[in-house]
Symmetry: C2
Amino acid sequence: MNCEDFEKDHKKEMRAVQDSMDVLNGKWKISIISSICYYNKRRFSDILGDIDGISNKMLSKELKELELNKLVKRTVLDTQPVTVQYELTAHGKTLQTIINNLTEWGIKHRREIIGK
Amino acid sequence: MNCEDFEKDHKKEMRAVQDSMDVLNGKWKISIISSICYYNKRRFSDILGDIDGISNKMLSKELKELELNKLVKRTVLDTQPVTVQYELTAHGKTLQTIINNLTEWGIKHRREIIGK
DNA sequence: CAGTATCCAAAGGGATACTG
DNA sequence: CAGTATCCCTTTGGATACTG
């Protein structure tokens, strides 16, 4: 492998990492996924209650983006009044490993920065 | 474990995940880490060249934040004119697993959304 | 070379009120 | 209940020019 290939591979890797981050970015996305994942199925107002500080506007917006990225499935239940259930898709569930890693790392990081 | 503990544990997990994301957020942070990691040691202008579209202002700002979080070490070399070398700290290197996971996931995600 | 400083447009996001 | 709509302040980040 010559030097140019070396460069190209790195650029590819960086694009892939960036793709992931684009999907997970936004102030609340990880928290939302984590909430739905934890309870398996979760309604709009429940997620709203799970996450400190989030507004309905933001929750709505971020859920839409997660749906577009096929991480979350939205189901309208025929109740009175309407309830809506969110759950992770199979694809969404593949984030579990990453979320676990990020959780572990977050704890270590807190120790590293604040602790000692 | 009762229901309240269950809730508390989840909140703790979410905070830990969020801590990680706070550190990695920002449009360029992952790319910068990835660049430094790839080359082991890297100068300001080299990183600037590695990452498409980044400005010196942003690179400077994000590097500072990474330094504050002790992920990156900055060394001024006594040359003429001055050169500055960036490298990952031991703590910064612990991100390797996460970056690898995000890279893999990014590739899978692209296939899931665009591919078939 | 390795940044800082300034200007400015665009996006992010909170508070509140409203709707089917 | 599950969202939309609106207002409005704050943050982000690009372009450009400048400094030790």
